[in-house]
């Protein structure tokens, strides 16, 4: 079977443009709006209501506003790194979506090392954050970047442990095969419930959301590593974070909630229902829980989640082998 390379490149470019536009709109814009509406509902107040029907065009307006804000670069900042850091974070968040299966046959590429690839892209984000924190030449930004990076790397390990437990259950690293395995064996949220819990906690910490958003804490570090970022560069950091959060939710539906399987409705609809259910849950947690202190956060990861994850892997292995 010969492959027409130029045609494949064109297809890939189109797929990339479609996926990224979808992410930017459904993910970031709708996500930010959802966050504000849900936050308002939980706090017994109205979220944005004026722009468009029920405030739906709020983020569109915000984006247009940000597009014409002045780019302020602090005077001693390293300009090259200052500008590339948000790009790294945004692209890493976007690349994660390559291995997410939306419906049977509707996945960008079913990589053989799907789950490993996801973890690898998540770990690239840390470099972008460190670079951003440093490039601002602002000690609060630097400190925020270091703390954020410490938090993110600490939670990558329990995240990997949860992913490995699921891979063990399914016998494969490919996301599509994991969804199909759940069709045979039942949703992994049941069989791998501890892994699900570990994954949700680690995923929340990986995207720097409350209760793990100390590095961005407004009351302590201004805005952490993006204190000096204004306008669109700030928006790109946010895009990366929201894309990553949605990607984690999408991965959770793929790995634990059976992906696109469901009775009556078409698979794609089921996928989105499940994904948004998890996103809602994440936002709900944000507006409910107080923030954890950094040492509490790190203790939680190293002393509780990581040993628990490794022990769970051994238990699963024992269960499957014997």
């Amino acid at each position: 079977m010969t492959i027409n390379w130029p045609l494949e490149v064109v297809k890939a470019v189109l797929a990339a443009v479609i996926v990224f536009t979808f992410l930017a709109v459904i993910g970031a814009m709708l996500g930010v709006l959802l966050e504000r509406k849900i936050g308002g509902w939980i706090q017994s107040r109205l979220g944005p209501k004026h722009v468009g029907r029920q405030g739906l065009l709020q983020t569109v307006a915000d984006t247009i506003k940000l597009l014409q804000k002045e780019h302020i670069t602090p005077h001693a900042a390293d300009v090259a790194i200052f500008n590339t850091a948000p790009l790294i974070v945004a692209v890493a968040g976007l690349l994660d979506w390559i291995v997410i299966p939306f419906a049977p046959g509707l996945i960008v590429r079913d990589l053989n090392i799907g789950v490993l690839f996801f973890a690898a892209m998540a770990s690239l984000t840390v470099v972008g954050i460190l670079a951003g924190g440093f490039a601002s030449n602002n000690k609060y930004a630097l400190l925020g970047g270091l703390r954020s990076a410490s938090q993110m790397i600490s939670y990558e390990l329990p995240l990997a442990a949860a992913l490995i437990a699921v891979a063990m259950e399914a016998g494969t690293l490919s996301t599509v095969s994991i969804v199909e395995a759940q069709a045979r064996q039942g949703w992994f949220v049941i069989w791998q419930f501890p892994a699900f819990v570990i994954f949700m906690i680690a995923a929340t910490a990986e995207v720097n959301r409350v209760p793990f958003d100390l590095p961005e804490a407004e009351s302590e570090l201004v805005a952490g590593y993006f204190s000096e970022y204004t306008g669109m560069r700030f928006a790109l950091f946010q895009l990366g974070e929201y894309a990553e959060m949605f990607a984690m939710a999408a991965l959770a539906t793929t790995l634990f909630l059976g992906g696109w399987k469901g009775p009556i409705l078409p698979p794609l609809v089921w996928f989105f229902i499940k994904m948004y259910a998890i996103v809602f849950f994440l936002m709900w947690m944000r507006w409910t829980y107080p923030r954890l202190r950094l040492d509490q956060l790190l203790n939680l990861s190293w002393k509780l989640l990581l040993p628990a994850g490794l022990v769970w892997i051994l238990i699963t292995g024992y269960r499957i082998t014997f």
């Binding site: 090259a80 790294i88 490993l116 690839f117 690239l124 460190l130 440093f134 630097l142």
Partner: protein, 163 residues
């Protein structure tokens, strides 16, 4: 043909970034240039059909080692402001040594009879690697865990002596 183009692009990325790593006076820029170098090498692994190795290259090198290096730079006093002078008085001798070494290496490469075996590439998939280190290379695998333990203990001892 496409593979050759990909090889050239990836090698270019890896080499140019490597040159920046070595010659840049700004140490943070130097450390951050490691990322494209590692990504270029990742691409080369893909060209060798070794996708698992490519995945862990990104995960470990670009994700963990770069972070480690950046942490150390940012935590060293004046480290981030370090402007290292890249050229010293021995440029001529250095250049001569480089040319001689390059000539030697190229000569060796051209004269070696690279075996071109028939058939497919050895399997470098995750399954194949897993099978190998669980069956034929078990001892190496277990010793690796000891090696990791030793590095961990050693590093903690060294780092904590600073207190």
């Amino acid at each position: 043909m496409g593979e050759l183009a990909a090889f050239i692009i990836l090698s270019a990325i890896a080499l140019v970034s490597a040159v920046v790593v070595v010659t840049s006076g700004n140490i943070v820029r130097s450390a951050l240039s490691l990322v494209p170098t590692f990504l270029g090498v990742t691409g080369l692994y893909i060209l060798l059909q070794a996708e698992f190795v490519a995945g862990i290259q990104v995960l470990i090198y670009a994700g963990a080692i770069t972070v480690l290096i950046l942490f150390v730079i940012m935590l060293t006093e004046g480290g981030t402001g370090l402007r290292v002078r890249q050229v010293n008085e021995q440029v001529a001798a250095g250049l001569l040594a480089t040319v001689v070494l390059a000539g030697l290496l190229i000569g060796v490469f051209l004269r070696t009879d690279w075996p071109r075996g028939p058939g497919a590439l050895p399997q470098y998939t995750a399954e194949a690697i897993g099978r190998t280190f669980l069956t034929t290379a078990v001892l190496i695998f277990e010793v690796t865990s000891l090696l990791l333990l030793v590095s961990l203990i050693g590093a903690i001892i060294v780092a904590r002596r600073e207190r």
